[in-house]
Each structure stands twice: as structure tokens, then as C-alpha cells.
């Protein structure tokens, strides 16, 4: 059957506004931000060239390094624990148990909440005077303390707890879908060969989930790097500035302190972080896809 000529140009025409919009509003603004980071911009954009001065200021700012360190701690723990917990829950749910649909919904439900809600709920749970610590002490274990939320050295870990609670169900859903896609013939063959269930998971099923690991890591990594609302609601970057993350740093410098240039420089550093994490991941994934 001949393809009508409209089929050739219609899809392109329909997609072109979205393409133009993403080119302008995503890539165009990335370029503007990069340009701003090399200028004297203070309160408003100002195109006077300043070279690398804004980056000097940024790297000299102790708070930026605190936020970078926090991002490293939060990012690695959040992604790592969400992956492990999500995979574990998916494997347990995959044992053909009763009420799977119900349980799956329960684990996935936190994903339906916004990070603001999660942050506020965990703020109350973790507050020593209101939540967990007080309840356990009232139960009689009076020496119990759990004050991470108000402890400057531990506050960032409470963000990990709340983040994992919210996102591990999502990781589980993706892993579960992946598990369902594994060819049951291979598993049966392995069983005939006398492989135990843990061995089957370790040697056959989990390695075959590789593309799922890739997608989950990709999604969680960008949630981690742009995380703003969760930290704002849970700790407000505090106590002090101890649980500051780059997104908060960027917002405050750009919009409340009249240092648009420094804010833009920190945004560029965030972009570089994403690129540094994503590009090797995507490269490795593309290569393994070709090898197969």
C-alpha cells in the first residue's frame, strides 16, 4: 500500500512546536544560565563580562562545599538504599503471594505524595519533642534518643530516610515489571539443572535486570540532584546550613540575596554533576546494548 504524502510531513509538523519549545525553554535557558554565570549580574541580569570571578566566589564559599558534600552523601545513600530496598521488595512480592495487588499499591502509594507532604510528615515523626523519640520514651525506654533531625551532623541522613521511604516503592514497581519480563523457560531450565532459588536470582534474574537498574538509577539520580522541596519541608536546610543542598543554595543566591551570577554558576555546577554522572552511565548502557 502506498504511503499517503501527508504521513510523511504530518508527524513532523505536529511534533515541531514541542521540539521548538524544548529547544528554547530547556536548551536555550541552559545557555542563558551558562552565560549569566560569566557576568557581573547581581539583582537583575547584567551582561557585563566578569570572566571566572563568579566561579572563584562560588568555590570560596564554604556553604557551597557543605551543600556539595551533602548532595554526595544524600545522592549515594538515597540511590543505593532505594535500589536495594526496591529490589528486595520486588523479589518478595514476586513469590506469587496472595494479596499482591493490595501490597503493591501500599508500597507504591508514597510516590503519589508530593515531597512537601513527605517532608512535613517526617518532620513531625522525627522531631524529638513530638514524634518517635517522645513516644518510645513514653513507652518506658526513657534513655532512648533519636535526634538526628536537630543534630547538625545527622540531619542530612533524615533526608535520606524520607527520600527512601518515598521512592523505594517506585523502584520496586519498576523492578517488579522487570522480573515479570524474565523468560520463565530459563528459570525452569535452571531448576531442572538443580540450581537453588538464591542462585537463580543471583546468577540469572538479577543480571538480566540490568536495563531496569539503569533506568531506576537514572531517575533516582535526577531526583537526588534537583532535590529541593523535600529538604525545604523536612529540615529547611538546617539546623543552620548543615543540610543545605545545591538546589537550595542556587535558589537563595539567585533570588533572595541578589547574587544572580553566583547562583547561575552553582546551577552550572549542578548541570555538570548531572552530566558527569549520566554520560558514563548512558555510554555504558549504549555499549552493552550493542554487544548483545
Amino acid at each position: 500500500m502506498a504511503i499517503p504524502p501527508s504521513d510523511r510531513w504530518l508527524p513532523k509538523l505536529v511534533l515541531s512546536p514541542t521540539l521548538a519549545a524544548s529547544l528554547l525553554f530547556v536548551y536555550g535557558f541552559i545557555l542563558i544560565t551558562i552565560a549569566l554565570s560569566f557576568t557581573e549580574s547581581r539583582l537583575l541580569p547584567n551582561w557585563e563580562w566578569a570572566g571566572l570571578e563568579r566561579y572563584d566566589e562560588l568555590f570560596d564559599n564554604e556553604r557551597f562545599w557543605v551543600s556539595a558534600k551533602n548532595l554526595a552523601i544524600f545522592g549515594s545513600l538515597f540511590i543505593g538504599i532505594s535500589l536495594v530496598v526496591g529490589l528486595l521488595m520486588a523479589i518478595l512480592l514476586d513469590q506469587k503471594i496472595r494479596g499482591e495487588g493490595f501490597l503493591r499499591a501500599i508500597y507504591l502509594y508514597p510516590m503519589a505524595l508530593s515531597f512537601i507532604v513527605t517532608g512535613n510528615a517526617w518532620k513531625w515523626l522525627l522531631n524529638p519533642g513530638l514524634g518517635l523519640e517522645r513516644i518510645v520514651q513514653q513507652w518506658g525506654w526513657t534513655s532512648f534518643t533519636f535526634d538526628w533531625l536537630v543534630n547538625p551532623d545527622r540531619a542530612i541522613y533524615t533526608v535520606v530516610i524520607a527520600g527512601v521511604w518515598q521512592s523505594s516503592g517506585f523502584a520496586m514497581a519498576l523492578f517488579l515489571a522487570g522480573l515479570r519480563g524474565v523468560d520463565s523457560e530459563i528459570i525452569k531450565a535452571a531448576q531442572v539443572d538443580g540450581a537453588s532459588l538464591p542462585t537463580i536470582y543471583r546468577r540469572i534474574i538479577i543480571p538480566s535486570l540490568r536495563p531496569v537498574f539503569f533506568s531506576v538509577t537514572l531517575i533516582l539520580a535526577h531526583i537526588a540532584i534537583k532535590s529541593f522541596d523535600l529538604v525545604m519541608a523536612l529540615t529547611g536546610g538546617g539546623p543552620g546550613t548543615s543540610s543545605d543542598v545545591p538546589a537550595i543554595f542556587m535558589y537563595q543566591f539567585s533570588f533572595t540575596r541578589g547574587q544572580l551570577g553566583v547562583g547561575a554558576a552553582s546551577a552550572v555546577m549542578m548541570l555538570m554533576t548531572i552530566v558527569a554522572v549520566m554520560v558514563p552511565l548512558m555510554y555504558a548502557e549504549a555499549r552493552s546494548g550493542r554487544d548483545r
Binding site: 536537630v150 533570588f255 533572595t256
Partner: protein, 412 residues
Amino acid sequence: MKFKQTAIAIAAATLMASVVSAAEVEVLHWWTSGGEAKSVAELKKMMEAKGHKWKDFAVAGGAGDAAMTALKARVVSGNPPTAAQIKGPSIQEWAKEGALGNINDAAKDWDKLLPKAVADVMKYKGNYVAAPVNVHRVNWLWINQDALNKAGGKAPTTYDEFFALADKFKAQGIVAIAHGGQPWQDATVFESVVLGLGGAKFYNDALVKLDSAALASPTMEKSFDTLAKIKTYIDKDASGRDWNLATAMVMNGKGGMQFMGDWAKGEFTAANKVSGKDYTCAAAPGTANSYTFNIDSFAMFNVKAADAKKGQLDLATAIMSPEFQEVFNLNKGSIPVRPGVNKAKFDACATKSMADFDSTAKTGGLVASFAHGMAIPSATQGAIVDVIAKFMNSTMSSKDAVAALVKASKTK
């Protein structure tokens, strides 16, 4: 055909709208809560009485952060509002960007009405570019009256008395110092301590002029020592607590006292608490003869059209009128910025604040609040507040804090 008509109608409507908006007075503010909204409605009424059309541009949230973001978008797009709620050195920052207009025509007698320290904030290169609305005093100490009576009934005037009183509060089993662990609240306590220990001149040198000799002085180190001691009287749940919750602690007797500006009085009043009976307002220790002011103001933007300019000047005149100053400040809990306002309806704390405002304006004890963006540009202020917040939330020594403070003060 239909489409064409609609397009013409839309174009005509837009054109008309832009013609109408030239005669409008558009005011950006973030006074959206009960008492504040009432105050703004008063201004609207006065402007409408003069035949101007009032256009409200209220952006709530984030203590003005959201409003500032909206304002920047408007100014960058070349369509600024008539006036916007901007205060302190931010007025200078906006004026430097060339965004503000001159309102000298409405401000002929303002030099006589306003203390010099206040007038300087409203001017850019000798011209008035903003109109002050009210005065908040920041260096207050709010004390629960019952707890104070049990502890001898005398508000502390020095830090020795202050810590003695705090010990007594502790012995009563209450949180001696109600505080919220947010950076701006830490900075509020810090500036009252510096003012109390060093006096107005030292405060001015250190936190307004950012003189490095003053910043690195032993007095500053002592201020940090005192702050460290204050820290030991604060409960550990304070981290992240909002200021009004800390005020509520003083109100219901869970907390003894709080360092906070006079907007705290609004909370007491809203809860039907009476000063002298339920709570005491006292100047923070050692600051009875000084006054840290936090003044809200409207910065006036460059408007082109002649009738818009007239509306702007009328707005400035209305803001400074005794009638508006009285009504607005009764609702807001602050005091009028000019003399000649009927004082009959103001309560004891406000009357004391007015008397102190007048007397300190003469003695030089009237200083700009650094923690509330009245003294130094936002970038420098932010860097210094970071140091204080870090000090409050770590085991940093006073010596290191002073060194960090000197470094932060060089932020441009």
C-alpha cells in the same frame, strides 16, 4: 470571519486595558494576612478617594521572596508596577539598576519629619525614591509575666541579670529562652546581643559599616561567647521552629522569654493577652538606650505617563499622612514613622517604642537592624547570617566565628 472579529476584539480590549492601566496605581506587596490586609485596604480607600484606580498586586509567601521574583520578571520585561514593598539597602540596589523614580515633589517636608537615619535609607543620591510605612523595633525581649513574677518580677537590664533570670526559669521547669532555630532568628538574637554588649556606636561600626577592626574586636568575641551561653538555655527541639511558635511558648508559659521584634506583639494581641498582665515587653538586656529599627517601605518605580506619575506622588503623600500611619500601625503592631500622629489608641509597648524612637533619634542610639535587611546589602547580610547560623548549630569556637565573620563581611 468569526476568528477575525474575535482577534480584533481582543486587540481592542488589550489596547484599552493598557490605556486604563496608565491611570492605575499598581502596588506590589505581600501583606496578605488578617491585620496586614486590613492595613492595605485602608491605603486603597484613601487612593480611591483621590480618584485613582487601585490595582492590587499581592504575592503571598516566603516573606516576600515570591513577590521579589514576580517583581524582577515585571521589571525585566519593562512593565514595572507603580510601587513595590522593598526595604533597606535593597532600595539602593534597585535604584542602582536604574529602576526607581524620583518622588521629591511629594517629599518636600520629609527631611523634617523623618530622623536622618531613616531618611538616608529612603534616598538614593539625595533624592527620595521610597516612602516609609512603619517602624518596627527589633531589640525587644518578651517575657511571660507569671514566670517573671515568680522570679522576682524585674526584667533584666544586663546580661548578668539575664542569665540569673534564665537560671530561675530553668528551676521553674520551663524552657528559659524560647527560640526558633532558623537563620534569621539566630541573627535577630545576635544583633541584640552585639548592641547590648557593645552599644550603638560599636554596633554601627561592626554591623552597619562593616569595619574590620570592630568586627575582629574582643567585644565581638564576647558577643559570640554570650550567644554560646544563650544557646545552652534553648531547648533542643528549637531547630526549624517558626518564630510565632516560640512566641506561643512564652504566651502559654512553656517558655520564659524570647528575643524578637515587635511583630511578636501582634501574636499576643491576637490571643487577647495584655502587656503588663500576661506578658512584659522590655528592651533586650543593655539596649534600653538604643533602638534597632526595621522599616517597611514602598519603593517607587520609574513610571512614564504623566497621570501615572501623579498617582505615584499621591500614593507617597497618602502613605506619609498621619491618618494612614495611625490606622496602618494599629493594625500591624508597629509604630508610625513620623511625628504628629494621634497616640491615644496605641498600647503601652507601642507608646514606649514611640518614646524610645524619638529619644534615640536625638542621641544617635537609633541604628538599622542588620538581621532584617536594613543595614547592609543582601549578599553581605546573607554571608554573615550563614556564619551566625553555623555558630548556633555547631561547636565552632568564638574565635573562629570572629574570623569567619570578618571574611563574610568582605562578601560583595
